[in-house]
């Protein structure tokens, strides 16, 4: 099959020494940042985006993908040892993992998380490689109206389908869409919402917004909670190796988690969190040791961690094949592509196959690196958890501003950073989700472009948006994803959806 050929060529690209180095830097940074409580992969990629202006596109994209995978691995360490998930997709891991650590079984918990992540990452990345060409073929028949419908679906699922409030999700989305209007209109060259300020003509930088919302907003929010007493880091006692019993109980959850997580990540349905919750529920139902659930069942760590990594790979399917980001991290990676003038989508597979397949192949390599980084070197990462909060957050803000200053050392840009940081803080206080703002900012202009193209072709006839079968089906799904949660919440079943909230990664 041609896929193997492409994958082999990709491996040749990925195995170049410089690309291996970028992958290694990526996974190391990703793990380190994933381990730190409070910062997720979205923020790490946003921070590093300006730093990589000088690098070549292939190398820095490989690095970003490594950061994404590494962040997913690192998050499990935090939730197992600290009970403070570093990223939202690891919340479920904390349920059983932290109990295991308190019972002195932290080693096997970390091992099953790492090996499960590896198994899931491997299978899901291969699945990505095999599914991508089919979706690319499918996407070639997509016209502007189908793309527009797809983006509407992504808007709905990211903002209002999950989370505890349709209203707040939609408000976040429209804040993002409003910000997206700022700057010069792509089709007519007219300045919109820039109020004569030259700095605004280029629009709002995605990285500035993401760094401000995630890093500064989060720091302000944590600081405003006051001191809640010291958090206890569970020491890793005993061996990190799993017993035969642990292996026997882990391998099925790994595989089940992978097959739950990957499709969910691949659909334009938002974050990795949903898959982890479903996997946890499945393991709880299927386990032979129901009494252990809630007290540290290894299945409850193995399944969700696998699901988490599988959906991270799944997210790359719509991103690479359709140019459609479904999570905040994917949105920022899309900004990374755009920084080099590349637009992910079916055309990229045709025009730049080396880059795409090199990226996919480097994910396989990154997975092996992560296994090595996370098992023997686990003690090193645990030390990161002991950095006192004042220094940790002072350092986070230092690096957060560093990226913006490196891109554009102007008072105006830093002022925007501060203003969006305050906005991010206020939104957190009132429970507004952050991811829809970032996704709205980056996807808004693309959606507008497709809409206006579709309507230009039809000479202003709006019904054309619904007359293509694919577009109609996508819009119906989007409408269902909007209405069904509203009904569920009205009937008081909202807690389930609130738990599935796609908050930031």
């Amino acid at each position: 099959m041609a896929t193997f050929e492409f994958l082999l060529q990709g491996l040749l690209v990925a195995a170049q020494p410089m690309n291996l180095l970028y992958a290694l830097i990526g996974v190391t940074l990703g793990t380190a940042v994933g381990v730190l409580p409070g910062i997720g992969p979205a923020l790490t990629v946003a921070l590093l985006l300006p730093v990589t202006y000088q690098l070549d596109p292939g190398g820095s994209l490989i690095m970003f993908a490594g950061i994404y995978y590494g962040g997913m691995y690192g998050g499990s360490t935090t939730s197992i040892l600290l009970n403070t998930p570093g990223e939202s997709a690891s919340i479920v891991t904390a349920l059983e993992g932290n109990k295991m650590a308190r019972a002195g079984r932290g080693g096997p918990a970390l091992a099953t998380a790492a090996i499960g992540s590896f198994v899931a990452g491997l299978i899901a990345t291969l699945a990505l490689a095999f599914i991508a060409p089919f979706i690319v073929k499918l996407a070639l028949v997509f016209g502007p109206r189908e793309y527009f419908a797809l983006m509407v679906l992504a808007f709905v699922t990211v903002s209002s389908a999950f989370g505890d409030s349709t209203l707040r999700g939609l408000t976040s989305l429209f804040v993002g869409l409003t910000l997206a209007c700022i700057g010069i209109d792509q089709l007519t060259g007219q300045a919109r919402l820039s109020f004569g300020v030259p700095d605004l003509l280029d629009g709002i930088e995605v990285t500035t917004l993401a760094v401000a919302m995630f890093a500064i907003g989060e720091t302000l929010y944590i600081a405003a909670q006051g001191d809640k007493g010291p958090e206890t880091v569970e020491a890793v006692r005993g061996s990190v190796w799993m017993s035969a019993m642990d292996w026997a109980r882990s391998w099925k959850p790994w595989l089940r988690g992978t097959f739950i997580g990957f499709p969910i990540g691949a659909m334009p349905a938002g974050g990795a969190e949903i898959g982890t919750f479903l996997s946890y529920a499945a393991e709880k139902r299927l386990t032979k040791h129901p009494e252990e659930f809630g007290n540290g069942a290894i299945e409850g760590v193995a399944g969700p961690e696998a699901a988490n990594n599988a959906s991270a790979a799944g997210t790359l399917v719509p991103l690479l094949t359709l140019g459609l980001p479904t999570t905040a991290t994917a949105a920022i990676m899309l900004a990374g592509f755009q920084q080099y003038g590349l637009q992910p989508g079916p055309l990229l597979f045709a025009t730049n196959p080396q880059l795409v397949w090199g990226l996919i192949a480097s994910l396989l390599i990154a997975n092996f690196m992560l296994l090595v980084l996370n098992l023997p070197l686990i003690g090193l990462w645990v030390k990161l958890l002991t950095i006192p909060k004042p220094w940790l957050y002072a350092g986070i803000l230092l690096f957060a501003t560093l990226g913006t200053i490196g891109a554009n050392p102007s008072v105006f840009e830093l002022g925007m950073l501060l203003a969006f940081g305050l906005l991010g803080y206020v939104m957190r206080v009132f429970g507004y989700p952050i991811a829809p703002v970032v996704v709205g900012l980056i996807l808004g202009p693309l959606a507008e472009q497709q809409l206006r193209r579709a309507l230009s072709i039809s000479q202003g006839d709006v019904t054309v948006l619904f007359t293509s079968p694919i577009a109609a089906v996508l819009l119906v799904i989007a409408a269902l994803a909007f209405i069904v949660p509203l009904i569920l919440r009205a009937r008081g079943r909202g807690e389930v959806l609130a738990q599935l909230a796609a908050s930031e990664d």
Partner: protein
Amino acid sequence: MNKGNTPSVETRRPDRAALIIAAVLAVIAGVIFWDVSRLTGLAGYSQVGPTTVPYVIACCLIGLAIWTAAEGIRGDFAEREPQQFGPVIWIVAGLAAQMLLLNILGFSIATGILFALTAGGFGKRRLWLTIPIGIAFSFFVWVIFAKLLQLSLPAGPFERLFF
């Protein structure tokens, strides 16, 4: 560790906060209407120009404002935890100081002050100790990123002592 300058302020009237948010959303919508109405609607033959999408967004914002206000009046708007504003002021002061001082004093000093004030927000209030630590650390970062990675970070008098 963290004492906080002001006692924790509890917002007791959730209604009012929701109404303020609704008002802000409505004002944003108004600004969009005002700004976009000045654009000539270069719509061409499709009646869809640069003004169409902003108008749609503004209409949706007004809808969301009404919805928010309704939830606020019924009192089922978001619950929230009490916030301490002392630490927030420390950190915002740090960011503002960095913003204003960056191009005058250079990266290390401006960012060092940000570093110290952020640590202050989390309870490390001994500025005579934290500012030098912050400047030293920022200088170290400056050397790595500006000299090794060729990122353009503004230099000030402190950096010029060395390079």
